[in-house]
């Protein structure tokens, strides 16, 4: 998992002044290199806004991996059967590992890991909205493992073709491991969907509750998106929210419907003329409310993360060697 297509944009009180600081000759060369398909590496000159937007994107992706492991991690002890427990442990370990890879990629841009975690803990930096909802039953875990991971893969495969080298390399590794996540999620989902009447009603119930957060996953429609154009030219953002959402619906709605399950949106259908999916607008006010702390699990997620920081501190301190000078990853 878990990079949401939607990257929360901090409300900036100051107008962007970055272009004033960018040398126009270097900027033109930078844009020429990106247009030619070259990758940008940590020591390269880059526009101030490119650096800022990348840090925001990669950092939020990293936080999403770490926070995303929490709702699943809590199900390890309750997963049905030994094999499912083993697979879930492996998956949760992967997600934490993905968080580490992404934090490292963000650090190459000059923001320290400590600063990123502090921004997460004090609410300044966001993570994918879907993790602010509770995983009520085992069926929820299968819906997350199948559909949220599938949605994240759509986003991550797109981003892995972006322009920033360290982020692309981290994503390549992540996408490889995600293929196992998707498969194990699909397997667990299918087991319920093809099981007893009770199992099927559990998975239907979970689908009904998760469909809106899934539709939120890729973020608001393109028509409301603010500065996508430049980010797409710089290959920071590789596909628009609507395009990714459509790609996801195209691949996965048939896989759900063929099992005789339903989706809680009467407006959901494919337009035969355009080939695009039509759907009822999910509640975007709710989306903004949840992002800003008003979801059912926001305080629990951050509370658990804070608890881990506070209670793990003595271990980190005990191992600390004060003669070591702090450095940043090189690539």
């Amino acid at each position: 998992m878990y990079g949401g297509g939607y990257i929360f944009d901090e409300q900036s009180k100051r107008p962007l002044q970055t272009q004033l600081e960018d040398d126009p000759v270097k900027l033109a060369d930078f844009e020429r290199r990106i247009a030619a398909g070259e990758k940008i590496e940590p020591g390269d000159w880059m526009p101030v806004d490119y650096r800022k937007q990348l840090i925001r994107l990669i950092e939020q992706h990293a936080h999403s991996e770490i926070i995303g492991a929490l709702p699943e991690g809590t199900w390890i002890t309750r997963a049905p059967g030994f094999k499912r427990k083993l697979a879930l442990i492996a998956k949760v370990q992967d997600e934490i590992g993905h968080g580490q890879l992404l934090y490292n990629a963000a650090e190459t841009l000059g923001k320290s890991r400590e600063m990123m975690i502090n921004d997460l803990l004090n609410g300044k930096s966001k993570y994918s909205n879907v993790f602010n909802y509770p995983a009520e039953t085992w069926a929820d875990v299968t819906v997350i493992g199948f559909l949220i991971d599938a949605a994240a893969i759509v986003n991550q495969v797109a981003n892995s073709k972006g322009s920033y080298g360290p982020y692309c390399r981290a994503l390549e590794r992540i996408c490889y491991e995600e293929s196992f996540h998707l498969k194990q999620g699909h397997d667990a989902f299918i087991e319920l969907a093809t099981g007893t009447a009770l199992q099927r009603s559990m998975v239907q119930d979970a689908l009904n509750r998760w469909w809106q957060p899934i539709m939120h996953f890729f973020g608001p429609p393109d028509k409301t998106s603010v500065h996508s154009e430049k980010l797409m030219r710089w290959k920071v953002k590789m596909a628009s929210n609507d395009d990714m959402r459509n790609q996801f619906l195209d691949s996965y709605v048939p896989k759900i419907l063929e099992l005789g399950l339903t989706l809680p949106d009467p407006g959901l259908r494919k337009d035969p003329e355009t080939g695009k999916w039509l759907f009822s607008d999910p509640d975007w006010d709710l989306f903004m409310k949840v992002i800003n702390g008003g979801g059912p699990c926001n305080s629990e997620r951050l509370g658990v993360r804070k608890w881990a920081e506070e209670n793990g501190r003595w271990v980190r301190k005990a191992l600390m060697d004060n003669n070591q000078k702090k450095s940043f990853p090189v690539a």
Binding site: E41, W75, Q100, N104, N118, P329
Partner: protein
Amino acid sequence: MDNQSLDPRVKRLKLDADGKLVTIQEGENWNVFEVFHQEKRGAHHEHVGSVHAPSAQLALVFAKEQFGRRKKCVNLWVVRSADILALDVEDEDMFANNADKTYRDASGFKVMEKINKFKGKK
């Protein structure tokens, strides 16, 4: 704060008990080490990423977890990122005419042309 988690283990934690802001000090997450892995005996060690660790020994332990838990890996190296000396990426033009130096390559020497020409004359 009343903790309403559905998870029994989380419910037992005293979350945010004192309501204090948790702040991590700069450097608390240790130092950065670059990781190189060797996929099989006889292959080069290749750079795969980095880990945070308090010492090189623990960096190896973390590197094994992070980069050696899937696929083949027979050996790992770690080195402090600060100890890597690299050229400035902006200086890449110093390599620009490498490809022009055909006298450094086998393909820069057209022996067969001469042999064929010689044979043709006979």
